[in-house]
Each structure stands twice: as C-alpha cells, then as structure tokens.
C-alpha cells in the first residue's frame, strides 16, 4: 500500500521534483548559512585556537578577547608562576602595529610575541620553515592568510623584508593558522623581539599563558589564579567563547544570518506546502477511491507520511550534499580557510525539514481525511 503512495508521488514528475527542490533548497539555505555563520563567529576565537599549548589565559581584568586587551606589568608573569597548580607560565604579547612593505604600502598587522625560550603560543604547524628559525635575529613568521593580503602579486614571502616601528623584520616562515575575524595580517615573533616592533608603552605584557599541573582541572587552577593574583584567568574554552560572544554582541552578523535562516525556512514551507497541497488536491480522487475500497484514515496518514519521508530524505540529502560540496569547493580559498560543518548543523536542518513536512503534510491531509469515498465520482 505504501508503494502505491510512492508511485502516486513520483507519478507526477513535475510536482515530485518541485517538492524535492523546495526541501533541498531550504536545507541548503539553512545548513550552508548556519555553517558560514558558525565559522565566521568562531573566527573570534581563532587567536585562542592558534595557541594550542595554552590551557589557561591570564589577563588584566578588563581584557575581553585576544584582540581587545589591556597590558599588565611584566611582573604579572611571576605572580602567575607563584600560584600552586600552575605547571608553567609564559609571556604572550598581542599588539597592533603598522608595517611598511618593500613596495612602500602600509598595512595594519597584528604582532604576536611568543615566549623566547619555549615558543609556546606559536600555531602548531608551519607551512614553510621551522619554528627554530625564530632564533635568528629580526625574524617574523607570517600567517598564511597574511601572505595573500600582504603579497597580492604572488611574491614569495620568505626572505621579504618589512619595516616595523623603524626596525627591520625579515619573514622567514609561514604559519598554518586560522585567520582572525578581520583577516588581519599576523606576524609571529619572539616576545623580546615583539617589544621592539611595537611602539613603546609602559606595560606590554598582554597575556600570560599557563599550563595546568597533573591531577588538576583548568577551572580549578584558573580560579586559584584569580584568587591569588587578582588577574582574570580564563580556560581555553571560556576564552574562545568570550571571543565568539564579543563578535555576537558587537556585530550585526547574528541578525543577518538569522534572517537568512528564517527565510530559508519560510521558502521551504511556502514551496513545499504549496506543492504538497496541490499534489494532494490533484490526487483527491485516488484517495477517495482508496477510501471507497475500505482503506482507513490511519492508513492514509501513513501513506502520506511515506510520501513525505521520501521527499524529505531525498531533498534533505541533496541539500546537505550541496553544502558539503560548497565547503569542499571553497576550502582552498583563504577566506574560507578552516571552515568546517559542525555536526550539529545538519541535525538542525533535519529537524527543520521534519517540521516543514509536518506542517505542510498536516495542512494537506486535512482535506484528504474529510474526503468522502464519493469524491471519486465527482
């Protein structure tokens, strides 16, 4: 009997593909927009993810994110090291600077100073070069997104000389890092070197990165640091969330993407609802005949359910495949670098598809259920 329902559904190819298109389109819209949205706001946490060793970030109480920060006196490092449960602590400097390229262009860059001795704070992998290269004088490592921004004509960045705060800086490596929200050029260098590159203010130490002793959790140690030093200590997850929340609070991005997602839902409901209702109305005679031969209402509901399930599965699959293909196709583009599809998002769109089909199916069914067998003769 369900097979009859499927035949009924696919009998009219136009309406069948119309339904598929509606579901696929709204799935694509919802999944793809949510994916881009999530990845875009996660860019706010890229600074945290680019320093893979740090379990705790310690900062001045007024600092909010990796980029919105306020420097501390340099003895803050010793204060953090004094806290029991802190396995290690290293200085970390993040500051903005202007760079003059060889061709004379001016470009705003983010300078990141990592601990001189251990290089904690560098991204895990380098595309080109070795981390040890930072031991050479005046060395900076540029991020791969920055290569595109700074060397638009496709020059090789390695060996290029820059001018930073009247100092010479030589690019000797390219880091494999997640770009920041603003896709700013990022230069990694040693802490002591960074102090020279950034115009001088009194306090320069923006963050202290800390590790946690074995047997303790990051939360416990962060609480201890806050209690003993009066500084703000956040675990990696908290600080990543802080970066994301900062973007949510300070930009119109959530509203924009939210509107698009709602539009996807509305378009889905409209197209699918309309097509489904038309399809049911066209087949009202067949339903009447089925009723005439004694098919119960429950069975008819199951039949329509089967039709909806087929349309939903195929349409949803097409939408998800479309999103995956989109992300895959653009994975080479520096703007989309590091974009991924969080596994929750396809589930969200699945739920949306089910809701769309449930609403439209219910509306379409109402007329069928009230149909009398005599309808077959009309």
């Amino acid at each position: 009997m369900l097979w009859i329902a499927i035949r009924m559904l696919t009998g009219d190819a136009q309406k069948f593909y119309g339904l598929l298109f509606g579901i696929a389109f709204s799935t694509l819209l919802i999944t793809q927009q949510l994916t881009i949205f999530v990845n875009l706001i996660e860019r706010g946490a890229s600074g945290v993810y680019n320093a893979p060793e740090a379990e705790i970030w310690v900062m001045d109480p007024v600092s909010r994110t990796t980029d919105v920060n306020y420097a501390m006196p340099s003895t803050a490092l010793d204060e953090v090291r004094s806290v029991p449960g802190v396995e290690w602590a290293v200085p970390h400097l993040r500051a903005a600077a202007s760079v003059r390229t060889g061709s004379g262009d001016l470009e705003g860059v983010a300078i990141i100073g990592v601990d001189d001795a251990t290089l904690i704070g560098l991204p895990e992998r380098l595309v080109e070069g070795d981390k040890k290269i930072l031991a050479q004088p005046d060395t900076v490592i540029i991020d791969d997104g920055g290569v595109v921004n700074l060397f638009e004509n496709g020059e090789d960045p390695i060996g290029q000389r820059l001018e930073l705060n009247d100092q010479r800086a030589v690019i000797r490596g390219v880091a494999d890092s997640i770009p920041s929200f603003t896709s700013q050029v990022t230069l990694y260098t040693k802490y002591s070197q960074a102090l020279n590159f950034v115009p001088g203010t009194r306090n320069r130490l923006t963050f202290v990165l800390a590790g946690v002793s074995e047997g303790l959790t990051a939360d416990e140690v962060a609480a201890r640091i806050e209690e003993q030093t009066g500084l703000k200590a956040e675990t990696r997850e908290e600080f990543a969330d802080a970066g994301v929340n900062f973007i949510i609070e300070n930009t119109g991005i959530p509203t924009n993407f939210g509107i698009t997602v709602v539009l996807g839902f509305v378009v889905g409901v409209a197209i699918v609802g309309l097509t489904f209702s038309l399809f049911i109305r066209d087949n009202i005679k067949q339903f009447g005949a089925l009723k005439a031969i004694g098919v119960t209402n429950a069975k008819i509901v199951r039949m329509v359910g089967a039709q909806a399930a087929l349309v939903g599965t195929v349409g949803y699959a097409l939408g998800v495949i479309g999103t995956v293909a989109f992300i895959y196709a653009f994975s080479g583009n520096p703007f989309f670098k590091g974009f991924y599809i969080p596994w929750q998002i396809p589930l969200i769109s699945l739920v949306s598809v089910i809701i769309i089909l449930a609403i439209t199916g219910f509306i379409a069914l109402r007329s069928v259920l009230s149909t009398e067998p005599a309808a077959v003769f009309r």
């Binding site: 003895t75 449960g85 998800v320």
Partner: protein, 328 residues
Amino acid sequence: MSILPKNVSFSRQVLPILAVIGLVVAALYIFTDLPDRSTSEPEQQPPKATGDLANSPRVAGTGLVEPSSEIIDIGSALSGLVTDLRVRPGDRVEKGQPLFLVDDRAARARLAEANAAISEARAAIAEAQAAQRTASQQLALYDNLDDPAAVSRAEVIRAEGDATAAQTRLELARARLSAAQAQAGSARTELGRLTVRAPITGEILAVNIRLGEFVSTQGGSSDPFIQMGETTPLHVRVDVDENEAVRVKLGADAIVSPRGAADIRANAKFVRAEPLVVPKRQLTNSAAERVDVRVLQIIYALPQSDVFRVGQQVDAFIPAAEAAGEEE
C-alpha cells in the same frame, strides 16, 4: 528513461539510493573534517616548579646571575693611553695583580727631573759644606790670633759674614734636596697610580679597553674599562614583585633554571634579602621604560656548575611562607 532498465524507476529507486549514499558520504566528510581543538604539550619544556614546590605555596621571580662580590667596574686614577694590558677576559687574578698600565712617560720624565734635582742639590750641599768649612777655618784662624792688631776689625767681620753665609747656603741646599726628593716621591706615586691593580682576588669578566686606547677619568663615558668579580660562588639576584614579597619564605632555598634550559634546576642557597626595595630595572628591553613596579631583591648562592654565567637571566621559584592570615 530509456537509459535505465524497464522495471527500474529513476525517481523511485535510483534517486533515493543516490541520496542515501550521498548523505553517508556527506556525514563522513563532516565528521572527518571537524577541526582539532585539543591542546598539545609544549615541545620545549617551560620553567616550572618541581618536587614539593609544584603544588605548594610558592613565589616566582626572575633573576640575574652575578658574582658573589657583585660586579666591580675597574676605573683608572689617571687619564692616559693604555700602554700595557696584562689580563684577558676569563683570567683569574690575585689581589694587587696589575691589570693594565697607563702611559707613564710624563711621570718618568718628572722622576728623572726630580732625580737630577736631587743630584744637583747634593752637589750644592757638598759645595756649601766646602765653603762653610773654608769660612769657619778662616774665622777660627782669626779667632785664635792673640794680637788683636794683627788683623783689622773689618777683616774679622767679613770672615764672620762668610761663615754665616756658608751655613745658610748649606741649609738652602739641604732644603732643595728635600724638595727634589719630595718631587721624586710624588713622581713615583704617580707612576704607581698609572698601574691599575686588582682590588680583590677574582675573575676578569670583561675587558673593554685595548692597547693604545685613551682612558679618561672624566665621568660620563660609556663602558667601564675592566669588569671583574669573585665568581666562586656565583650569586643570583632574584627580583620579586613587591606584591608577592610578603609571601616569600626568607631563608629557604630556591629552585633556579637558566633561560631556555628549564630542565636544569639548581638548588640555590639563601644569602640575604636586600634591605632596599627598588624599582624594577632588569629584564626590560627599552631604555625609555618608566616603571611603577618595585621589586624586593633576594640574593641566593648558586652551586658550582658550568651552566650559569654572570649576567644570565634565570627563572626562580621560592617557597612561600605559610601566612597565618591566609589560612583564615
């Protein structure tokens, strides 16, 4: 639908199967593409407190290695060209050993002059003595005459005058001799001052002068000429933030690691805490830096080891005192 066999429907069979396969592929892609957000262990070990200190109250500080005598900047008493340099960096010297000589030609010339003046004065003394002898003999001769008329009164007065003059000349010559001797002494002292000697037994840490260079006693010039200090044992001067200073357990040993070699952990013995809390000076890279942080400086003696050098930065961990107030 002629491509497909007759009993296979595209929309009823092929499409759903394709859709399911696509969904599985998409799910695989999504799950393999999830980003790695795990933390990783540092490749190089950062400095850390170990042993009992790892999980107990402690105070961390950064320090600078220095000689136990502190660094002595050797100066020169007199300006001049360097004519001889007797030490090289790394040499061990005894107290009083010459370090370098400053051009002494002028002083030596003055000494020769003074010596000549001494000889001259001696000759003058001899001459004066001879004259005095002659004059006194003459006078004695006149005195012994029984007949007062044998010599005129004027002759006697002249002889008496000659004797007195000769005596005065002798005194003058003697005074000239001691003046010349004093001059010679002063020239010798100056010669001595032109040789710069080690004030203590210790090691030469830096030599900033070379043969032929001019050393000036005028202040304001840059480098000290020679730096030395007693390097057995070495001391380390640890800066502790004034906010943390109250927690330090004075008298306890500290764990000290050189920069970049955190796996080396030396046990340093407490020596003293400086009575004066000073603005934080070391470990900054900017000459224009203003400071509002003050630090307590605590001195520890390092054990004998090759890894520490004077002027090196170290990370130190010191046990904290169990403050009564902290425990509620």
